[in-house]
Symmetry: C2
Subunit: 311 residues, 2 copies
DNA sequence: TTGTACGCGTTATCAT
DNA sequence: ATGATAACGCGTACAA
């Protein structure tokens, strides 16, 4: 008939809301959007609804968001790209199961291999290693790193590049770190590197890399002809930019799905899954191919696995 | 002290949840992500939390989502890019105030100027008019339209181009319509136009335009040298693509904010605001400038208002 | 099998 | 002013 049960009464009685909370820095960002999409999809599959709050990478906002989730007594909470200390987050979450997807509290940079249970992160070190091996194999020796923000991920990626160069070729690189939203200003990004360009620039993520490529073009510097550039994440536009961007696929939607599933299991009584590191894959495209020109002959350089990422 | 009120009990007693529901096609999409961001921001400002559901532009999913909102008794609901009939949506929303942001039910194409209250849309006609005037002024006469999906917006944009050409230069254009997610396959997009290229291609949105530009490049066809291309929405990558994309700014975040505010007012007892059409602005960039080459001389062609859109 | 009563936490009302 | 009480709608437990 027409009967619609009342979730509030049901929640009051059952002491659970069948609701999850997801706290992320920004809906507009392609990566976080994918995390949110995967999270909501998996949650819906398990019969859960999702409350979203954007925290803007600000610890104060994150605290307020956790308070909201606490009042609404969500059955579980996920924080994506968490800038708070994981311990504080856990304590502020009260009794709610908590999953942190991509813990980014700056001091964590040196302890990412010893994270507590309920954390999920991408394999940043492996990603940078794959990038650097590819660039070294292409004959490049003078490297630069372009970072953004003060996150643990950013530090680890930069440190991994440093370690690789030290171990493999006994060289150092120049690292430049910008504000988290610097990618919106291509001129600033390109200017940050100064006049003396290295041969290869490893960027913290795709947004920054695409912005850099544009900033360089505005100065008459061509990628990959004058300098090669790599990104991280494989956002959709990395596959159709000019030049197509060599990058590391991080499977953001899978990360969201796994976070939701972990929470659902924890609510069902399972112990919170141990810290998980998600595998990543290098996709080689035009931005690191010295021979790339804008002729029809450029087609088909992308490696096989990459095609499936252009969904 | 440590006291945390229980929202479920409060909701049961007060008969309101201080929660809004937002139904959108896809979190990963840059435009809908902006709508979501604005909506959540404005809702939070008024003390409301937001439940998000992704409907995937599928009427069946949209119906299920509305049912979820009904059970959870959200105080109001917004549907972004609604593919259902607005009448059906309203009836399925029961007593909940409903705002439709960008009503896209296909049959609505001819009645977008006579929408019921509680609807918000962008001024598609004005956007295409500004685009076409710019292209005509640049001397172009042979036009193509590249659309995607079966939405009312898509129909209106195509129809507006047809009307402009008929009235101003007594010409017709060739219109090609692809599937909604066709932009993910640049080769398919470029192939859809066939061998005989027009002088100017007006695209339904930025994703399609950027994909087209890439597909054309793979075939050795250069933009704007061989053909000029325009988009719609001004997603962030339109400002840093190569070439920078001439497009129409639609202020997606503002649309989300307005939707939330309209709902909050309606909940407070105000009548639902009458149908609103949000203004749009043309941003002229490289993709329609015949003289654009990849030299430093390209810098600074963007018109003043555009700079503020690259936030 | 079908029915009835109680309690979840809050708030509004009413009596002191 | 301060404190006791009822009701919101559902689920469960126990009785018939």
């Amino acid at each position: 008939l027409e009967y619609v049960p009342n979730a509030a009464a049901r929640a009051l009685r059952a002491r659970r809301t069948r609701t999850l909370g997801l706290l992320l820095p920004d809906f507009g960002d392609p990566v976080h959007g994918q995390v949110a999409a995967g999270f909501e999809q998996e949650a819906a599959l398990a019969g859960y609804s999702v409350m979203f709050v954007a925290g803007g990478a600000d610890p104060a906002n994150e605290r307020r968001a956790l308070q909201v989730f606490l009042e609404r007594s969500t059955d579980g909470v996920c924080i994506a790209s968490c800038s708070m200390d994981p311990g504080e987050a856990r304590s502020r979450a009260g009794g709610m199961p908590l999953v942190i997807a991509q813990p980014d509290h700056p001091p964590l940079a040196r302890r990412l291999d010893r994270l507590p249970e309920g954390t999920i992160r991408t394999d940043d070190a492996s990603g940078v290693e794959q990038v650097v091996r590819h660039l070294l194999a292409s004959g490049h020796r003078r490297f630069g790193y372009l970072g953004a923000g003060a996150t643990a991920s950013n530090s680890l990626r930069s440190a991994t590049l440093a370690r690789m160069l030290r171990e493999d070729v006994g060289r150092r690189h120049r690292a430049v770190n910008l504000a988290g939203d610097a990618w919106r200003s291509p001129d600033t990004v390109a200017a940050a590197l100064g006049a003396a360009l290295p041969e290869a620039i490893v960027c913290y993520d795709d947004k920054l890399a695409l912005s850099l490529i544009d900033g360089l073009r505005r100065r008459g510097i061509r990628v990959p002809h004058d300098v090669v550039v790599t990104g991280f994440d494989d956002i959709p536009f990395a596959a159709i930019s000019h030049p197509h961007l060599t990058t590391v696929v991080t499977h953001a939607a899978d990360m969201g799905r796994l976070a939701a599933r972990t929470l659902v299991n924890a609510i069902a009584g399972d112990a919170l899954a141990p810290a998980t590191v998600l595998p990543v894959e290098l996709v080689i495209r035009e931005s690191t191919l010295p021979g790339a020109r804008r002729t029809p002959g450029d087609m088909g350089v992308e490696r096989a696995p990459a095609a499936s990422n252009v969904r």
